[in-house]
Amino acid sequence: MSETVGIVIVSHSKDIAKGTADMVRQMVGNEVKVAFCGGNPDGGLGTSVASIIDAINDAWSAKGVAILVDLGGAETNSEMAVEMLEPARRDHVVVCNAPIVEGAVMAATESAGGSTLAQVKAVAEELSAE
């Protein structure tokens, strides 16, 4: 497959992250790399910077990676994770300001069409602009 923007889903709940990834897969099959993570370092509700870094690397594509998050801590931890990536990758990963389920589905659908990272982010964020 030609390279498409990777999608990472970060929720406080592993179940929500997995369910969202399942919905994305249903839309785009294997055309887009999708990775997800949820849960704090002990496995309870929360997010883990280490897991987010792993998910970004799993979904890595030369076209970059778009991250969809649920609530505040997921966003803060995702921004931290991006800063801790190797420098060559850091500038090609964005956190989208969009609702997690709709945002992930919209972003992945846009990505499947071969769009750039900026286009994928913009489409996901249109959901928050209304």
Binding site: N40, M80, M84
Partner: protein, 207 residues
């Protein structure tokens, strides 16, 4: 181990133990206006710091601060991980650039406070840990070199945390509650106060 390393190790130990001991209170404050995980998260983070205490205190001071910061980032599991983590990472970075303790304390502390503000995209008055950290920084500047510095910092932190009760939260999970966040002390402000006061108490015992 040098005197400074001994002192630093004792400071980190006391601060971590006090945060861990305050976990039930932090959780109960967070249950009132947040998701109730602040106590557990801070406990997990500072237990990880305690677990590395020997390694941390064997490092040069700037590296020790950065290790504490990175440990909190990787283990806390909530927004407070990157927030407190960024404080210690930035303080360590300041120490790597020709700043020294104790003489540059306000400067180093200020680097940490700026990092928290940037990470949380937050200012004072939004019912967050900054509502304790910024007043403490102001006291560190105003009372630098004064014999009653520690006492003034303690008082500042204690008064600042109470002033978060009437504030309405506009950042973090508590902002979802809108006006209903009024009347509760902010858990992040409280954990910042616990840390500041533990360090003050440890320094006072040493004097």
């Amino acid at each position: 181990m040098s005197m400074q390393a001994e002192t630093f190790k004792a400071l980190v130990k006391v601060a971590a133990e006090q945060v861990i001991a305050s976990a039930p209170e932090l959780t109960s404050l967070d249950q009132a206006i947040g998701d109730g995980d602040h106590g557990f998260n801070m406990k997990r983070g500072f237990e990880a710091v305690l677990g590395k205490l020997d390694a941390i205190s064997a490092q040069p001071l700037d590296e020790a601060f950065k290790t504490i910061g990175k440990t909190l980032v990787m283990t806390v599991g909530g927004a407070s991980g990157p927030l407190y983590g960024s404080f210690f990472l930035a303080a360590g970075e300041a120490l790597s650039h020709d700043r020294h303790l104790p003489e540059d304390l306000a400067d180093v502390f200020g680097s940490g406070v700026n990092a928290v503000s940037a990470r949380g995209r937050s200012q004072t008055g939004e019912k967050t840990m900054l509502d304790v950290l910024v007043p403490v920084l102001e006291t560190l500047k105003a009372a630098a070199g004064q014999p009653d510095l520690i006492e003034r910092v303690r008082t500042t932190a204690a008064e600042a945390v109470e002033r978060t009760a009437p504030m309405q939260a506009t950042k973090g999970r508590a902002s979802f509650l809108g006006a209903r966040s009024v009347g509760h002390v902010d858990p992040g402000a409280r954990s910042s106060c616990v840390l500041v006061q533990a360090i003050c108490a440890s320094l006072e015992r040493k004097q």
